[in-house]
């Protein structure tokens, strides 16, 4: 990043316009991602955006870069494979709370404990939008949805606490309504060496009538405007549980730990995609000789 040349946001304009509902929080996230990429000067050809399935997972189609629009819940393993194949790419995973914290949660936990050098942006709208409004893993208690007509009685999951305890080395929360801060957070997340998770409040204007823009605006505050430090595990964990009248935005946790790629004897030799293929005759014979 030393010879950083910023690129204009238009560099990343996708081939088609997003088909999200007017007012959807995801527009702001897309824009913030484009701003962050420009700020870091990442050439579109060197960026790979990987998503699962859901409204927010349509994002790779709306940005000028390489992309994989994979299966529901499987964005993390697909991204891991692509990243390990070519560690020269900047891999950013995007998706929603259902995709990442529901069907794909198992993969997320393991990606975090591996501390893979990837970024995960979760557009958390606390609802299943694409399937027209069922409860998600982050839907609040008591909230009525199509699948919880008497009110949700399952505790919502705390993605930030989960990330901090699972081994993620950069954990942040953004809000689609705070675009400048969000683009800064995304840029920091991409620049971070290790697994970075940014949970982003991205209101669903169609199916979530509780967690709306005004609802968040009344409650959120910025951690960088306080004296909060980001490298204390226990303080960060406590902060991750702050919810209700006041909800923190910003970097909650940031530490420098060894990444998976540096410990693997083969990956540490450089990107797999650029390595030599096959076996020479001498090595082949040695491998057979072991079995004689």
């Amino acid at each position: 990043m030393s010879t950083l040349i910023e690129l204009p946001v238009e560099t990343y304009k996708g081939p088609v316009d997003p088909d999200w509902c007017p007012g959807c929080g995801d527009f702001g996230v897309l824009k913030a991602l484009q701003m962050a990429s420009g700020k870091l000067g990442i050439a579109p050809k060197d960026m790979l955006i990987v998503s699962g399935i859901g409204c927010s997972s349509n994002l790779p189609g709306f940005i000028h870069s390489y992309g994989i629009h994979s299966l529901h819940g499987r964005s993390i393993p697909v991204a891991t494979g692509a990243h390990l194949a070519n560690t020269d790419l900047h891999v950013v995973v995007t998706g929603g709370d259902g995709d990442g914290y529901g069907i794909g949660l198992g993969h997320l936990l393991h990606a975090m404990r591996r501390n893979l050098n990837m970024t995960y942006l979760v557009m958390d709208n606390q609802i299943y939008g694409l399937t027209t409004g069922q409860a998600s893993p982050t839907t609040g208690l008591g909230q009525k949805t199509k699948s919880t007509p008497i009110g949700n009685f399952e505790n919502p999951l705390n993605p930030l606490a989960l990330a901090i305890t699972s081994g993620a080395t950069f954990v942040a929360r953004g809000f689609s309504g705070e675009q400048k801060q969000l683009s800064d957070l995304i840029a920091k997340a991409i620049a971070h060496k290790g697994f970075s998770l940014v949970d982003i409040f991205s209101p669903c204007v169609t199916y979530n009538k509780v967690n709306t823009y005004p609802w968040f605006k009344e409650r959120v505050y910025k951690l960088e405007e306080t004296d909060f430090t980001t490298n204390d595990f226990h303080a960060s964990l406590t902060k991750a549980f702050e919810w209700g009248d006041k909800i923190p935005l910003g970097v909650l946790y940031e530490v420098d730990h060894p990444i998976y790629e540096d410990s693997d004897p083969v990956l540490s030799q450089g990107p797999l995609v650029k390595q030599k293929l096959g076996l020479d005759k001498k090595l082949f014979t040695e491998l057979l000789q072991e079995l004689v």
Partner: protein, 666 residues
């Protein structure tokens, strides 16, 4: 062909696999071929393990029906397997610890009890007390003598095996080997006086290799750079080989949290631009199926190995079966191009893997390899020359550079061949999204806002066109054996080896037979298979499953039905005489009798004793009883105390259902 089969029976943890390995490698180094089969259980210690090592002076294709030498490592094994030893054979056991009743073996079988303390007196004086596991090496020494294999090669193998250990351990083992050899020599003659060793084989290197090792080797020889897996028998040994050779061969190995992750990572790596592979058993593959279709629609090269074991569900984790054909065939929703190949032998597993990587890249599709536990886990000697060491790696139609003057790059360009030149992420001016939704040439989704039936029709046709050319690249199946046979046996996978051997046996009993082995399942050589089957007289399928899946598949593709089916589904692989007996039965229209045989009744009787804490007894007499209030004839099994021989109990097993109707202690 000259041949000898050695059986080693004992409990898990007795170390009998090591003894079998030493015997096999020693034989291989002498220029003899070996095929070994380990009938083991999903247990780390205890349980019953039964390893058969068949040695021949020509290539052996299965573990066969014979047993010439038995090494019994515990009392139970001695009792259960002694009767299986052929006339003129030998039973070896530790006579200090176990008692052998000569009534439990054929008359002409020699009982070689090894008085371990006496035999090893000098060795113990020199090296100190022995560990129980060392009795194996003494027994192995005896086997080397009985089979006229000499002791030198075994010594050399032991030296290699223990090379990383203290010289004292090497010397001790060699001393024990000599003790066993000398004692056997003092007691009896070898069961075969001399081997006629093929001079060519003597010169060539004969690695003793499993199907899984061949698959792993084929993968890295093809340039596989990424291997992902979740531990699951019988696919795990691919993971073990890859992990232990990762640095040496340059493959990144990723153990994942589940099989969903395994296949999705492999596909991600494929998109990222490297050759990637994963492997699992039927249960793991069930989790992978959705992603297989994703590789199909995204047109990603990826190789996935499904090693079948006894199913359904957790089923028989350590037993063999061929019952996942339809699962692999039907994997994933929707229709998409794919390759499904079922290798037949260890060297074919290597070739099939190399070919799978090639075709996956050439046609940008998932290549699925169906193996089975027997093929994947059994080791056999293969002449080193059978492995193509000079694999040509062709990554298919790749776009490595593009500029604007060439127009817009279209990842899914509609072409005559159906193959659209592929650019890897990181290439300039060729940006695209790999989409799991259907899409147009430029990879823009046609599933949501821009729905277009005409585009969907054209991209389906483009993708499916790849199958026509792929079929042309694959070698059509051929009939093996005489053209004018009376019986044609249809088989697939590891069953090929045993069917091949059964042709000779059938010929000996006056039944002229040939075989048709199906290797390529998708795409399928409809025309060629129809031509062969239309000319065949009696057509029987031979499969290790209950419902004759390959026979049904062939019927669905060709409209040609088999005249009969030969099936085994007890978890064990088929032996040649099993096929001969069944073919004879089918030819004479004998109904398929599923009644309990005496051997099966014995198996169930032992199972009852072992699961009810009654191991002081053993079954001594089996007789038929007609219906006696149980609505079916029964086997009456009489038990006696192992030590005193006194009658202890009776068990009645339904001859049809196998139900345990009565157990009475006397």
């Amino acid at each position: 062909m000259q041949e000898i089969t050695v059986g080693i029976a004992g409990a898990a943890g007795d170390g009998l696999d090591k003894s079998g390995d030493t015997l096999a490698r020693s034989s291989g180094r002498m220029g003899l071929h070996v095929y070994a089969y380990n009938s083991y259980q999903s247990i780390i210690r205890g349980g019953h393990i039964w390893l058969k090592v068949r040695i021949g002076n020509e290539k052996v294709y299965n573990h066969g029906d014979n047993l010439n030498v038995l090494i019994a490592l515990n009392q139970d094994s001695l009792e259960r397997h002694s009767l299986e030893v052929n006339d003129g054979g030998v039973v070896i056991f530790n006579s200090d610890k176990f008692k052998h009743d000569s009534a439990l073996q054929k008359k002409s079988v020699f009982s070689l009890g090894l008085p371990m303390a006496q035999i090893t007196k000098d060795t113990v004086a020199k090296y100190g007390p022995l560990q129980p596991i060392m009795q194996n090496t003494i027994a192995l020494g005896a086997v080397m003598y009985l089979c006229s294999l000499g002791v030198e090669e075994a010594k050399a193998v032991l030296m290699d095996t223990f090379a990383h250990k203290d010289q004292k351990i090497v010397d001790l083992n060699i001393s024990l080997l000599n003790d066993g050899y000398a004692y056997a020599k003092s007691q009896t003659k070898p069961i075969m006086s001399q081997w006629n060793i093929n001079a060519e084989l003597k010169k060539s290197m004969l690695p003793f290799i499993t199907g899984n090792e061949a698959i792993a080797l084929g993968a890295v020889a093809s340039g596989c750079k990424f291997y992902s897996a979740y531990p699951m028998t019988p696919a795990s040994t691919i993971l073990h080989w890859m992990a232990s050779h990762a640095k040496q061969v340059g493959v990144a190995v990723k153990q994942c949290e589940d099989e969903l992750s395994v296949i999705n990572m492999a596909i991600g790596a494929g998109i990222g631009g490297v050759r990637s592979m994963c492997a699992t058993a039927g249960g793991g593959f069930a989790l992978m199926t959705e992603a297989i279709g994703m590789a199909g629609i995204m047109e990603v090269p990826v190789v996935c190995v499904e090693v079948q074991r006894g199913g359904p569900s957790t089923g028989l984790p350590t037993k063999t079966e061929q019952a996942d054909l339809f699962q692999v065939y039907g994997a994933s929703q929707g229709e998409f191009p794919k390759l499904i190949v079922a290798p037949t032998t260890v060297s074919d597993a290597y070739d099939a893997t190399v070919e799978a990587f090639h075709m996956a890249d050439k046609y940008q599709l998932p290549a699925l390899i169906i193996s089975d536990l027997l093929l994947s886990e059994h080791p056999e000697t293969v002449e080193a020359s059978k492995f193509n060491m000079d694999v040509k790696i062709d990554r298919g139609e790749l776009v490595t550079s593009w500029n604007e003057s060439m127009g817009k790059y279209k990842r899914y360009k509609f072409t005559d061949s159906g193959v659209s030149p592929r650019a890897l992420p990181g290439t300039a001016n060729t940006l695209y999204v790999s989409p799991s939704d259907d899409h147009d040439e430029e990879s823009i989704l046609i599933s949501d806002m821009y729905t277009t039936p005409a585009t969907r029709k054209k991209i389906m046709e483009k993708r499916m066109r790849k199958m026509d050319n792929l079929l042309k690249d694959l070698t059509p199946p051929k009939l093996e054996g005489p053209d004018d046979a009376d019986v044609t046996l249809l088989c697939w996978g590891s069953t090929y080896g045993v069917v091949k051997e059964s042709l000779e046996l059938l010929n000996k009993v006056g039944i002229k037979a040939n075989l048709l082995c199906i290797k390529y399942i998708v795409p399928f050589h409809v025309k060629e298979v129809m031509e062969i089957l239309n000319k065949a007289k009696k057509k029987y399928s031979v499969e290790v499953n209950f419902t004759s899946q390959m026979a049904r598949f062939v019927r669905s593709e060709t409209g040609i039905a088999m005249d009969g089916h030969i099936n085994r589904y007890d978890g064990e692989p088929i032996e040649p005489t099993f096929i001969v007996t069944k073919v004879k039965g089918l030819l004479t229209n004998k109904p398929n009798n599923t009644h309990l045989t005496e051997a099966e009744a014995m198996d169930m009787a032992y199972h009852y004793l072992r699961t009810h804490g009654l191991e002081s007894m053993r079954p001594v007499k089996f007789s038929h009883e007609s219906t006696n209030g149980h609505n079916e004839p029964t086997w009456l099994v009489e038990f006696a105390d192992k030590k005193t021989g006194d009658a202890t109990a009776k068990l009645k097993l339904g001859a049809f259902t196998g139900s345990n109707h009565e157990f009475v202690k006397l």
